[in-house]
Amino acid sequence: MDSVVQIRDLWVSIGGRSILRGVNLEIPRNVVFAIMGPSGSGKSTLLRSLNRILDLYEGVSVKGQILIDGVDVYNSKTDPSEVRRLVGMVFQIPNPIPNMSIYDNVALGPRINKLVRSRWELDNLVRWALEKAYLWDEVKDRLHLPASKLSGGQQQRLCIARALAMKPKVLLMDEPTSNLDPVASAKIEELIVELKRDVTVVLVTHNSFQASRVSDYVAFMYDGQILEVGPTGQIFTRPKNKLTEKYITGRFG
């Protein structure tokens, strides 16, 4: 199988406390891959180690190997910003840059990374990304308004468009619906399923129902380790691990 992400024996500790304890994972191309688990299980840290956002904080140490599309993420010769260009990210809190316009938010990545040669090309790329994020129709007449004017769900879709505009290989999503209302969440879920045509989605969620609705593969994390991985249908119908079973049936803790 062609894996776009390969994680080998990954150990992460923050401030001396070990958060990930020997994670091994292969993520296939063009799927939605959900990572679920109770809070504190290390799923967010796992996601943040993939694009080296963890580097921003003091006292983080990472051991092990991650390969994304053939790039050795933690090799000392690898530039973290190179990695982050391959990997888009959508966060728990919708975080468009509030004082920038809708257009500029999407255009930021392509501009900085010089992905386009002309204004025309940039316009097209922005439009493509906004269409992919199901946002174009809602904002096409007010592209130059500040992003802070949008609703929460729209802001989150804007963040998805912003990540897509860089044409990443992998899109990381860290509980993207946890701060949204049910209608906005449903729209995002619908979108996630569509996105796998263009990109591999790695979705962290504490909501097992969401994982069952949108994902092709599921990994169940507990206490810094992956207890079980497999195709979603298989995990949700015939879980091998007792804890996984408890979790997906909502009888956890």
Binding site: I53, L56, E82, M89, F91, N95, P98, L108, G109
Partner: protein, 298 residues
């Protein structure tokens, strides 16, 4: 209980407010009233002429006005560079354990009396600037544009450097606090797009441009109004070419501080000094309005 209803004790407290209001009103009033004699005689002439001839009762303080604007503007340029740079260093690069020391040192620097800066500026900074910056530069042929330094090293340039040093701790603190207050999820979003540290910092500085404006306005106000330190290092010489910054000169504040002991001897001189103070008053009023409209609370 019944008495209280008629005489709310709290009403008496408003006396304190009245005193504060009255004092501000009185300050403004006195400035205007004491300037009137010379305004009535010369109108706006003192603002655009450079004469200081008490014997003939001729006063034009353009040289001091120019000196104030040049010193404060130069100081602002230096201090913006220093305060943005040091704030970025603090917020983005400095390891946590050094932060406490640096923060306390900067806060302490902001609370050292300005006259102490003045003495240090006179005895330490002036000779250093003369030997290592002003003399070499004027030897290089710049003296045509900036003038020649005096042996003491006191000059408009020296005053502006000293001012920059004095206002940087506060300006830097304003910028630093806002940089630190940028939510981490915004910072993460920027890095997740593959931006390098330089690019992220550039965007962050754009993001907090209101705070930078605030720091600018506050610094400018301080620089224009600062007296004791400036009067000690600016040289206090009537310099009609106030733009030749390596030469000694006057600022409005140093003119007032320096000339006042003579003021009682001449009728209009006192009023001329009040007039110059009134001009400063309006400059600081303008800065206040800018701050009120565009700035943030410090």
């Amino acid at each position: 209980m019944r008495i209280r209803r008629f005489l709310d004790v709290f009403t008496i407290v408003s006396l304190a407010n009245s005193i504060l209001i009255l004092s501000v009103v009185l300050v403004s009033l006195v400035l205007v009233v004491e300037s009137l004699p010379i305004i009535a005689r010369d109108g706006l002439l003192p603002l655009v002429t450079s004469i200081w001839n008490p014997v003939k009762e001729e006063y034009g303080f353009l040289f001091a006005l120019g000196g104030s604007l040049v010193t404060a503007s130069l100081a602002l340029v230096f201090s913006l560079a220093l305060s943005i740079g040091s704030a970025v260093m603090y917020a983005e690069f400095l390891p946590r354990r050094f932060r406490v020391i640096v923060k306390n040192l900067m806060d302490l620097a902001a609370s050292i009396p300005s006259v102490v800066y003045g003495l240090w500026g006179l005895k330490v900074l002036s000779p250093v600037l003369r030997t290592y910056i002003m003399e070499p530069l004027s030897e290089l042929g710049l003296s045509q544009f900036v003038g020649r330094p005096t042996p003491a090293g006191t000059s408009i340039f020296t005053a502006s450097i000293l001012l920059a040093i004095m206002v940087t701790p506060l300006a830097s603190a304003i910028i630093r606090e806002r940089l630190l207050a940028i939510p981490s999820h915004i910072r993460e979003a920027l890095y997740s797009l593959g931006l390098t540290k330089v690019e992220v910092i550039t965007l962050e500085l754009k993001y907090i441009k209101r705070s930078i404006l605030t720091a600018t306005a506050v610094s400018y106000g301080r620089a224009v109004g600062e007296t004791a330190a400036v009067a000690m290092v600016v040289g206090n010489v009537i310099n009609l070419e106030f733009f030749k910054v390596f030469k000694p000169g006057y600022t409005i504040s140093s003119l007032i501080a320096d000339q006042y002991p003579n003021a009682e001897a001449y009728y209009f001189m006192k009023h001329a000094l009040f007039y110059s103070a009134l001009v400063m008053f309006f400059v600081s009023l303008a800065i206040n309005i800018v701050l009120l409209k565009f700035g943030e609370r410090v």
